[in-house]
Symmetry: C2
Subunit: 271 residues, 2 copies
């Protein structure tokens, strides 16, 4: 497994890293095809927004250059970038002057069952609810115990993903995916102002839909709306789009809008 720390291969990771101590940092999980990081600008934009909101210094030019070089060396697979707030031995106060550390990890292409994209998936009803924290909502930060707890709720291969709701019961996302509904021709996804991760594939789909003139709504979604949807699908930056076919006793068909978006996203991931 390839690992670069601040651009240098095979550096040791200090056990005082604040990413370990407090989850004090951000990450991006980037698909790499033919030596190129896909959706790079979107990943960099989200990382930049996270840096601004957490007051985390990150040099965009170094990060971009490093991601390009790392991806070229990796060829095919996944580049995971962690950006932490450097070192600290004790105490929550940030180091002065501000620091950060870049950690890049490479891994082989993910192997999801081909049926997930082709026939659609079944969603597990997670009992773990997402807490509402507007200061962290939308960010792909390193505090992910809620996702760990949610993912531990099922082990069967029958469920490819789990549905996460917030503590008020709103429909938010999957454990490692964003969620979209289609109802009466309108594409709908949750507003992530209180919790959730604003995925780069979600952003890509929203932009593609807007360009295609598809009616869009980003707003709170209650549970009844999910069940009443005409189409439901999941997305993330590695697998693209998976139709959702089943949730508990509820079934949805794989809809035409889902297939249309899936086709254009697949082209992007295969590019």
């Amino acid at each position: 497994m390839a690992c670069w720390i601040d651009g240098r291969p095979d550096e040791p990771l200090p056990p005082t890293d604040r990413g370990l101590a407090y989850g004090d940092g951000l990450f991006e999980t980037i698909a790499v095809r033919r030596g190129q990081p896909l959706l790079l600008e979107r990943h960099l934009a989200r990382l930049g927004e996270g840096c601004a909101r957490l007051a985390l210094p990150g040099d965009p030019a170094s990060i971009r250059a490093e991601l390009l070089a790392f991806s070229a060396a990796l060829g095919e697979g996944v580049a995971k970038l962690l950006l932490t707030r450097g070192d600290g031995l004790r105490g929550y106060a940030a180091p002065q002057p501000p620091q950060s550390r870049r950690i890049l990890l490479g891994s082989p292409p993910p192997r999801y069952p081909p049926g997930n994209a082709a026939q659609g998936v079944r969603l597990y009803p997670c009992r773990t609810r997402l807490a509402e924290q507007p200061l962290l909502a939308g960010l792909k930060h390193l505090n992910r115990l809620e996702q760990v707890l949610a993912r531990a709720e099922w082990r069967d291969a029958e469920h490819a993903e789990g549905l996460m709701r917030d503590l008020s019961g709103r429909v938010i996302e999957g454990v490692f995916s964003n969620l979209f509904l289609v109802r009466d021709g309108v594409l709908l996804t949750a507003d992530l102002c209180r919790c959730g991760v604003a995925g780069v594939m979600r952003a890509e789909i929203l932009e593609q839909a807007e360009r295609a003139g598809i009616a869009l709504q980003v707003r709170d979604i209650d549970f009844a709306e999910l069940l009443a949807a005409d189409e439901v699908f999941l997305c993330n930056s590695l697998y693209g789009i998976w139709p959702v076919r089943r949730f508990e006793e509820h079934d949805w068909p794989v809809g035409t809008l889902t297939r249309k978006l899936q086709g254009s996203i697949r082209k992007l991931l295969d590019s």
Copy 2:
């Protein structure tokens, strides 16, 4: 700085540790005096509860033995133990079979201004609110971005700690301390069923107060009750007890119950 990983000094920390990836783990910050870890049983009990709630395997006998050996080697200072869910490259699913990793870090005794304990401290009014997440409430887990954001709100030396409230406005704790009030002879601290860290010093104070026949309440505390308190104090396992003298324009005297508890806790920390 001393660092042991799974009992071995100077081992490298794998960059795939799930503590770094997701904050998937727990920690304890333990005062060490004359080669002995203080409040060891309380630290082990809290760690054990955290392991049970997060389904994190941790061998209590190894952890105890390691803490004793590490403290003996350290002599005076602070032993920080991190227990993470081992390694994972991608994906929230826990490794099977379950794993964990012990990381022990030593540091010198903390140097707080002596006036904090003697004359009391001023509390900063943190705007960062604690999210309500019953599944994680009370645990000293590695997802601590809220504390990082709260501690970044002030840099002056005038404020020794910050007051953290939950998103509903309840008074919960300090950024790195628990908070107690005294009102009409009753000792009061927040119920930590929705958020907050159940500190070992908080547990020690609750037990001492109970043994001494002091009236006790562990329940929700609203902001008006804080301002109306006769005495207010903070505690943690390293510094013991600090009286709170000032919060914004509000002043409290250092009360007799605060001084009484402070004396017995100081004896314990100096033992």
